[in-house]
Amino acid sequence: MSTAAAFVYLSAEALRAALESAIPGCQVTVVPNGSPSAQHSLVLDHAHAVEVALYLRDHADYRLDYCSDVAGVDWLDAERKETVKVTKTVETPEGPAEQQVDETRTTLIPGYLEAVYHLYSVEKKHGPVVLRLRTTDRAANTRVPSLTPIWRSAEFQEREAFDLYGIVFDGHPDLRRILMWDNFTDHPMRKDYVPPSEEEEGA
């Protein structure tokens, strides 16, 4: 029973409401997860991310003292096509008339990089709470605030996301590449990364 209660307690909507009332000005967006696991996640704004993280770690109700995982995600530019019914004036043999016409609208969703944090509470035995930090775009503005000052376990994993995705974590104490060598310039886990071809490396 207590676990079921904990899951309700940590529901993304309840968390969003609690955070927005506790931290003035913070913007939290819920990203629903349609799969059976229903692990909805929270997108944080950069300005309040550290404050929110500190609140989740230290507040007596949450005590999310364990950051198990930091993952990088690369979201390319995407086009969303939707068909909408539009009322238009159409020329007909009987003269102009209003008609319902199907129209396809294409919206461009600009790409961005994302760092996903999975939090648990060892003390309260609940979790996970999933936090997301998104960069402005994939090229020039790839900065997000680092949560390493809140959870030390994020240190190496943020370095890995920096190395392989190119996400720059502001406030990280030691942001260097961790897997590839220092003068490597690419970010191999990005979706548009092309590894050296057989020809380039010699057949």
Binding site: L179, M180, W181, N183, F184, T185, D186, P188, Y193, P195, P196, E198, E200, E201, G202
Partner: protein, 216 residues
Amino acid sequence: MDDHALAPQQLKDLKVELSKNGVFTTTLEELYNWGRRSSVWPLTFGLACCAIEMIATTMARYDLARFGAEVFRPSPRQADLIIVSGTVTKKMAPQVVRLYNQMPEPKYVIAMGACAISGGPFRDGYNVLKGIDRYIPVDVHIPGCPPRPEALIHAFMTLQKKIDAQSLRGSDRPRHLQSGAPSEFPVPAFGEHGLEPTLNADVFPPQAESPFKVLP
């Protein structure tokens, strides 16, 4: 004198006949090759899952000691053979070449398993070298993922046959007896997109004949 010279087969028969009568004959070449092939000491060096099979090969069940190769040396200065057992990542490749360079001649290389030969299942990865024979000359390639201990033993026996067949004179003499042949190979550097250079044209692609010309 040439009229009285014995054909190779006759010479062999004569040696067998003599040994039956308690007279042991040999040549310097045979003795030298026998010594080399019977005490090939590998480097204590493993890279991935193939190394587990290599370790199994040395233990009692497969017993690499039967081939004189039970003494794994933890220093390249004392090793005759480097078994490249596993995936060579681009970050590890310079260290492998450096270890090989630090071994004294005569020295041999066994590329063990699909990864060491070609990169194996990770060939298309950004971080995996497409075969160690791009940087150092490999004597025996063993396929398999990983190869069983029997396959490694077979590679050992192949290497021993190769050593046995080497003659100390002539154009096909081993590399360490050729004054101009290198015993060290360039160590690749970490570049902005990968290793530089991507291969050593002196050793890759591997050739059946020694790629080194004999100096007069």
